[in-house]
Symmetry: C2
Subunit: 163 residues, 2 copies
């Protein structure tokens, strides 16, 4: 019966061959920047520029986490998906913390395998473990159902000024 | 003619008696935390807790700015409005930066004087000066027109998970 068969996305969730781990400096050579270019304008960074930004973000410790998905058994170990969490410390909520999820993208050739959901769920879990009282993200209306799979509900509108 | 009279909000924008400045440690005694309680759950912080969070945020330098509005000539110098900007550094956009505006609130007794708009416009200007390629914020749909006065346009939906 179709109803007892795991759906492709659900099956991918348990795909053990793909590892979710924190970004490493060497991931520049594994296509991390070109993966981001599938999300936004993203000119390549020199090794030096990449290392500088990497160090700036690493200085935030566990308040800034970038996760990547890779297949460690693949020869080139290309990065297949990524997502970012940064933790904002506030004065309200008794000195509370809010997790912000940003820059979630899955390589076009790796979509439909649940990798983005695995990354986002892990980011949400990291935020919970860090003591955040909530995690928020902004997305297009078309992605509401996608993020609902990770427990997100619509809360408001995102406004922006572009320079 | 009514059409040549400045509107109340426009007049308030040039209200020189109110100063917009960065948050100081002493602002705990000037009602900063109770002002935030008009926005969200906000139990009071001890002087020590406040100082700890203040120092954590100050460590981010110009990447984390809290502005407050006060009347320096008022005996108690109560904080009348506040808003926060933090700058997120990214790998995309050539190592670009995004400004996030958070925790904008105007004291109920001081609304209608344009203080919130002054704070937000200054935060946007700080983000521009910091080299951000955009500034974003989340709000309720009712506040779209308010933020449009500061140049914001609707870009997407905000999603959240509450723990």
């Amino acid at each position: 019966m179709a109803s007892t068969s795991p759906e492709p996305a659900a099956a991918a969730e348990t795909d053990g061959s793909i590892q979710i781990r924190r970004l490493e400096l060497a991931d520049r050579e594994r296509g991390f920047v070109s993966l981001l270019s599938q999300l936004s304008t993203c000119p390549d960074l020199t090794a030096s520029e990449f290392a500088t930004r990497f160090a700036e973000l690493a200085a935030h410790g566990d308040d800034h986490v970038i996760l990547v998905a890779e297949d460690p058994s693949a020869p080139e170990r290309q990065i297949l998906a990524t997502g970012c969490l940064f933790v904002e410390r506030k004065f309200l909520r008794g000195g509370g913390k809010v997790g912000h999820v940003e820059d979630v993208v899955v390589d076009a050739a790796a979509r439909g395998r649940g990798l983005g959901l695995r990354v986002v769920r892990r980011l949400v879990e990291i935020a919970r473990e860090a003591g955040c009282y909530k995690v928020i993200l902004d997305c297009t209306p078309e992605l509401r159902a996608y993020y609902a799979k990770c427990g997100f509900v619509e809360k408001g509108v995102q406004m922006a000024v572009y320079f």
